[in-house]
Amino acid sequence: MTNNIWEAQLDITPSDHKPVELTLDHCIKCNICVTACPVTAVTDLFPGPKYVGPQAGRFRHQGQPSPDHSVDYCNGCRVCNMVCPTGVKIAEINGRARAHIVQSGQVPLRRKLRNNLIARPELMGKVGQPLAPIANVLLHSGFGRFFAKLLLDIAPNAPLPRFSGERFSRWARKRPDAVRSARKVVYFHGCSTEYFEARVGKAAVQVLEANGFEVIVPPQNCCGLPLLSNGEFAAAQAYHESNIHHLIDYVKQGCVIVGTSTSCTLTLKEEAPEMLAYHTPDAQLLTANTFDIHEFLVHLLDAGELKTDGLKPMPLTLAYHPPCQYRAHRLGRPSTEIMALIPELTIIESQAACCGVGGTYGYKAEKYDITMAVGKSLFDFVQEVNGPIAVCDSETCRWNIAAVTGVPFVHPIELLAAAYGYEPEGPLAEVMK
């Protein structure tokens, strides 16, 4: 038996892969992107997606000096792509322009060091997680933060997560009660679940197993998005190739890849191939078979295969921020559709374009104030809703908003797992006591 529950949809030919830079010819200069850009709205340092993307794109040429002074202030939220009426891939144009600056050696050494450190959560996790008790104290001490700023220009108030006591993949490997089934999915945990928030991965496994799937957790790497966002394309491509190597055989056997970190799944599907212009047959196969977890659950729901009976009521009113990286999948709001199944749960959705953190963007001292200004309306919203916890699909957004508002955040999959009757961990456990 295969997992091809979406088979009915595959007779539609997906749109062609236009080279990113060629899409700039579709720009009609209407400036709609400028009206929607959350960064332009708060700082003069970023004049707007149209100017920096398709417009400056006409002045970029390999072997010529870069015309860019402001492209590095794009935080990659992709709101511009979403509102563009003519399909210009503005955020990707910006990302590739930044990579050109990096490759041509125009980034000062201290910043390049910093960017290469914060863009490697996998490396940080491998080093830091085994030393979790010490690393957490050090990273969260005023002393540690002072030196991080002094040496590497890392914003002293940026929201650093805490290493978890146990790596998620270790938990997954040693479970005696794992479900065995002919219906198999591969779970892509990403660095955040692996090193910082194992509870999200546990909830995902519980939900998938409750729906009769066997969950495979193969070795895997960082998706490479932080490196892509910092213009370090060679290193990002190495990660992407490694992930294809680890995952593609499962896909060829009929498994799909399901992830809870929405920017990781977007990277596997689209960002890595587009930014790197990496469209091998295996990369395309991975794109076609990777799912954000709630996208996957909505497919089950539409097919009448999602477990929806006996859900535990959750009498809570919670703020939910659908993050920009999640909206950029262009799926609508699958998480909202799934959370709506939980009895007595009231979800109030934010209208904010972006929380501002942009993955690693908000960790940079020179960009921290912009992050705070971009996220302000969202921070106010979360505090107005005033729930005991709040909900968001993306980890760096959760950490950022929680750090500013003091409201603990959970991933929406944790709510469904708890509604299925599994024992929650972390902030949700406190609320459900």
Binding site: Q9, I12, N31, I32, V34, T35, M82, V83, T86
Partner: protein, 417 residues
């Protein structure tokens, strides 16, 4: 929420359709490739500006002129809508905007003549209260205010042109300290600044020495986004005379306000409006559209809805595409279109020909229930609204918003019932 009505397109027609259908309690989803016509048009409702099209004189009373138009062009979307439902659509939008604290002023009996950004007179039926003091039937002297850092509005050009038409108009270009560090700014950024009281105070302080005889003061349409009415009233109070906005180049701040009001109304009724969702295909069975597919990051997403409304716009909006071979196509359902057969007949000789260009009349033919037709109804549950419809010349007639609003209103009620 049930899957009742899927609207493809989020311009004025699509949003109006969804708003009306949602008022009937239907489960509504709007999908759009991006934001569209609302951000491009002036934020007014032009119903009929010129008729006959070659006329040099703008229509003074649309209600009185429309019967002539319908008699001459029974295929016109207004003929399908009928004057009563057109009036109801205008009333409905006025009520919605009024409830949102942003009144649209006017009626079908009278066109305003309001100034454009180059100082020409433009006929329009409904305009926001923030624009009305620009009325050119009133000859009171005006001061037009520009901003040195806003290259989208040259107060001197508008003022000189108005003065030549007998409207006493002077101009000033402000160079405010708050903007001094910028090479340029945009209308939207200025609108955000205008919502800050200290910025407004600086504007007032800079304008006051230039007031002189001016009985009214005109600004580009940048007087706030969601707080436009308060910004407008505050400036009037501080300057001690009527203040008006002049819409200019896209993106249109006034159009964004309408977009926001309509989207909020849909969402308040439980509907959803999604951007970044391009419709790329569909499935049909037994004469019905069973699913619409949209492009996503991985694979097409399926939308199964009981009724589907096509509101993707015309050639300008992207709902209708043309190519060098002279083919004209509709982008989602590949519907049969009415269009000039021969590419040589697409255009007239003069760019600004008073009759407009025949290609712009291309569009979808519909029956009285706004169902696309090909001799017979193409799909029983498919409807079309707005500028994707055939048989009219929105640009020359100045009927773009009126057709979008009225057909959206009628179709929204049809699919909502």
């Amino acid at each position: 929420m049930t899957n009742d009505v899927l609207v493809i397109g989020a311009g004025l027609a699509g949003l109006t359709t969804a708003w009306q259908a949602s008022l009937h309690g239907k489960g509504v989803r709007v999908i759009a490739k991006g934001w569209g016509a609302t951000h491009w048009h002036a934020g007014c409702v032009d119903v009929l500006g010129y008729w006959p099209m070659e006329s040099e004189t703008p229509v003074a009373n649309p209600a009185a002129t429309l019967p002539d138009l319908l008699a001459a062009n029974p295929q016109h979307p207004y003929a399908l809508v009928g004057l009563a439902r057109l009036a109801a659509a205008l009333d409905g939008l006025q009520q919605l905007c009024s409830d949102a604290g942003y009144p649209l002023v006017g009626s079908l009996d009278k066109n305003w003549r309001l100034p454009t950004a180059v100082g020409a007179a433009r006929p329009t039926c409904l305009a926001p209260a923030t624009m009305i003091a620009g009325n050119l039937d009133d000859h009171a002297p005006m001061l037009l205010v520009g901003f040195k850092q806003l290259p989208d509005f040259y107060a001197n050009v508008a003022a000189d042109n108005l003065a030549q038409q007998g409207i006493p108009a002077r101009h000033v270009a402000l160079d405010l300290p708050a903007l001094a560090g910028r090479n340029f700014t945009t209308a939207v950024n200025l609108a955000r600044f205008m919502q800050q009281s200290d910025f407004r105070a600086a504007v007032v302080q800079a304008v006051k020495p230039h007031l002189g005889e001016a009985a009214r003061v005109g600004f580009p349409a940048v007087l706030g986004l969601e707080e436009a009415t308060a910004v407008h009233q505050d400036l009037q109070a501080q300057l001690g005379r009527p203040v008006f906005e002049i819409p200019g180049l896209p993106p249109s701040v006034a159009g964004m306000r309408l977009h926001r009001i309509l989207k909020s109304a849909i969402e308040k009724n439980g509907g959803r409006v999604y951007d970044g969702m391009e419709a790329i295909g569909f499935a049909a069975d037994g004469g019905r559209v069973t699913a619409v597919y949209t492009e996503t990051s991985g694979r097409p997403r399926q939308h199964r809805y009981d009724r589907v409304v096509l509101a993707t716009g015309g050639i300008l909006g992207g709902g209708i595409v043309t190519n060098h071979a002279g083919e004209v196509g509709e982008v989602v359902f590949n519907l049969p279109l009415r269009h000039p057969e021969n590419r040589l007949e697409w255009f007239r000789r003069d760019f600004l020909d008073k009759q407009g260009h025949p290609i712009y009349r291309s569009g979808v033919s519909v029956n009285e229930n706004f169902q696309p037709m090909n001799g017979r109804v193409v799909y029983q549950n498919l409807f079309a609204a707005g500028n994707t419809l055939a048989g009219f010349e929105a640009i020359r007639e100045r009927s773009f918003d009126g057709v979008a609003l009225a057909t959206g209103f009628v179709v929204g009620n049809l699919v909502g019932n």
